[in-house]
Assembly symmetry: C2
Homo-oligomer: 141 residues x 2
């Protein structure tokens, strides 16, 4: 089993597995407990490794390996927890700079087998500036 | 200045301020550093207290105070960091159970003035099950 010695190593492995659409490498990145959590852009909550694995299996099935750039915007760490806010850019390979921009909060936890991904919460910014969907005044009225 | 002694207290104050559309109480919940981060559902990245404050000002402006229920699905903590995955339900008051369901990752950090919110990443599940927007095979092809 691969051991990642820093959250950055785990993060690099996550995006490398994603870019390769390699399910085994993707699963090696995640924590093994039932408390892993994944929210894909526009997706619902997935809890536990099996639903998370199934989601990546479905995403990778039939997809050509994409080009992915990732940039860590902000990192916070304490003890065995690290939180990275990441800007992802995803698109077809060989088509210039990827243009699908996604924001992800990635949480890594250190265990006896090194740093593992335990939470991935990704979203697609739909509007410029700030959205008001959370308060949804239009819907509240 | 209000001091929150636990992340749960901060979280309760966040949703109470949101429900009251009370900007001063909302801002009292957040960390004061330039490294606070907020992503509203469908929204872009807001970094620093001033843009975050402006977003809440805009959300609260003209909105009738909504009804909000929040449920902590998963909590992880280490040292001065706590991560809560929360299910929010937001809707108009007096209309029965709120039906807008939002998933939020909230990160709290303990400083000399107690626990403060430093990251709020919220998203609206658009599809049942898992979304494949992140890999976006349709767009990749």
């Amino acid at each position: 089993m691969t051991t990642f010695n820093t959250p950055d190593q785990t993060e690099a492995a996550f995006y490398a597995a994603f870019e390769a659409t390699d399910l085994a490498r993707m699963l090696a990145v995640w924590g093994t407990g039932g408390d892993v959590v994944c929210i894909h852009p526009g997706g619902d909550l997935l809890q536990g490794l099996e639903p998370v694995a199934e989601s990546w299996r479905a995403i990778f099935a039939g997809a050509r390996p994409p080009a992915i750039e990732h940039r860590s915007i902000r990192q916070t760490a304490a003890g065995d927890l690290a939180i990275h806010l990441v800007e992802e850019r995803i698109g077809p390979r060989g088509a210039g700079a990827p243009t699908n921009r996604i924001l992800a909060t990635n949480v890594y936890r250190r265990g006896t087998d090194g740093w593992r991904l335990v939470l991935h919460h990704a979203s697609l910014p739909l509007v410029a500036g700030h959205a008001v969907a959370e308060a949804a005044p239009e819907r509240v009225h």
